[in-house]
Amino acid sequence: MRVLHRHRWLTPALLLLPGIAWLAIFFLVPLGFLGYQSLQSGSFDTGYSFSWHFANFSDAISSYDTQLIRSFVYAGVATVVALLISYPLVYWIAFRSGRWKNLFLLLIVAPLFVTYLVRTLAWLNILADEGPVVGILRAIHVLGSDGRILATSVAVVAGITYNFLPFMALPLYVSLEQIDPRLLEAAEDLYASKRQAFLRVTLPLSAPGIVAGTLLTFIPAAGDFINAQLLGTPRQFMVGNVIQSKFLELIDYPAAAALSFVLMALILAGLLLYARVVGTERLTG
């Protein structure tokens, strides 16, 4: 104790040391190795060696531009759909559900308690060609008589939307819940219609939730490969599928590492652009 008193910096240093060391060694250092690996050249047979091989990056982008673009389109669509689905829902929970709020919140996060892969596989049951959903859609001629949903982009985007919806809904709920009801009363006192009060008060005040939810949904969605693998075909594969197969099946480490970096860089660039558009002060809340 006396030593700790004499050296005031010692206490925080000791508290932080294990955690920071763990994150440095198993998060930062690996990123360094990923960068190192991405600049190597060679082949699986001859072995890979470091050679500032920047061509890995241009090759990654030019060979897999379809998958890269597809990842961002799928993730973008899924994020927007998740926002549209969850906003009215959490609005209802925050303002109209009364004393059962916590129960409804529990229902929103309930899907997260079912193993990710298993809840994705459940959509195989639901959307199966012989299943009820496809049957109904065929009967009302939305789908042709041999039309299907599985193995299409719709199935993959639907899967991503479903899997990451709670990540959108929770921050939205938090921001709506924090709105002081007196502000809405004030708006009504000042003769705002319901619609005006929503557009001018509620919506702007929930913006931090929309921003946080968008990030929390988009980032994991862009790197996902499970939905494309289980609900789609190679024609729906995203960049995650390519990285995964190059790393673990084709053993093409440099290309896979370069592609991982491209994915991360694009996400970061997207974040910065997004920060520009919505304004940093809104992002930092």
Partner: protein
């Protein structure tokens, strides 16, 4: 018109909840299916067999045991380490504090596939054989951040007068920590541990990269999905779901009992929303 409008939102909410819960229902429902062929996609008949013989599929018992062991030890380690970090960040002013914050948040805002891939390159280059230990390392790594965020949130609105009172009454720092700080932090630490456990049990992507020959339950499901998924997988998933639900309910009840503000009885899952964007832009 107005009457319709009044019911619009509740009706919508009902539909949305149906959509959210439908797959869960399907998972549980199909755990009672009695498929005649290899595939468990179409309903063919009711049976309790899958529940009674949940480990009849080769490898499934080992996978479940491995998952539980991994989750238990990585949660314990990550919760301890993460709580210390939270204490360090909230209770002390030092240079590089915001850097520490960023380091804690970065893993949460990095796609899992990048986390998994980069860890694999580390292990490959260091010639470390992947397996149980490397999965443990990875799980602790990604759980720490969530623990820090959860415990930090509680520490920030912590009433320090109680600690001062204890010290005034002659308790030294260690006794104060043990008798005052720790008990008051306990609900947050427990929430963090539950979240960590859930994240660990459910993790597929990172685990897939660093697993070597070790099979966790999600990896088992992935392997099975390539051929055919036995209904026993639904049994395990349903059981995990029900246990998680019970634990959550118990946690909420306990938090209400211990007299916390009602809005803090939020499910312990996902404590990230407010802090994450700050970390990303700072």
């Amino acid at each position: 018109m107005r009457r319709i409008r009044k019911h619009l939102l509740p009706a919508y909410a009902t539909l949305a909840f149906l959509y959210l819960l439908l797959p869960i229902g399907v998972v549980i429902f199909f755990s009672f299916n009695n498929p005649t062929g290899r595939f468990n996609y179409v309903w063919e008949g009711f049976t309790f067999d899958n529940w009674v013989h949940w480990d009849a599929v080769p490898g499934i018992r080992d996978a479940v045991v491995t998952s539980l062991q991994l989750a238990a030890i990585s949660t314990i380690v990550a919760t301890a380490i993460g709580t210390l970090v939270a204490l360090g960040i909230v209770r002390h002013r030092f240079r590089g504090r915001s850097l520490v914050n960023v380091l804690v948040f970065l893993p949460m805002s990095t796609p899992e596939i990048v986390l998994g891939a980069s860890l694999l390159t580390l292990f490959l280059n260091m010639r470390i054989v992947t397996g149980f230990v490397t999965i443990f390392i990875a799980h602790v790594m990604f759980i720490i951040s969530y623990v820090v965020v959860t415990v930090k949130a509680r520490l920030i609105d912590f009433d320090r007068h109680l600690e001062e009172a204890a010290m005034d009454l002659g308790a030294n720092e260690w006794v104060t920590f043990r008798k005052i700080t720790l008990p008051l932090l306990a609900p947050a630490i427990l929430s963090a541990a539950l979240l960590g456990f859930a994240l660990s049990v459910d993790d597929f992507v990172i685990t897939y990269f660093v697993s070597g020959g070790t099979t966790t339950f999600p990896l088992f499901v992935w392997g099975a999905a390539r051929v055919s998924v036995p209904p026993q997988v639904n049994v395990i998933a349903s059981a995990v779901f029900l246990v998680a639900l019970l634990v959550m309910a118990a946690n909420v009840v306990w938090q209400i009992r211990s007299g916390r503000r009602e809005d803090e009885t939020l499910p312990p899952a996902l404590p990230v929303p407010e802090q994450l964007p700050q970390a990303v832009t700072r």
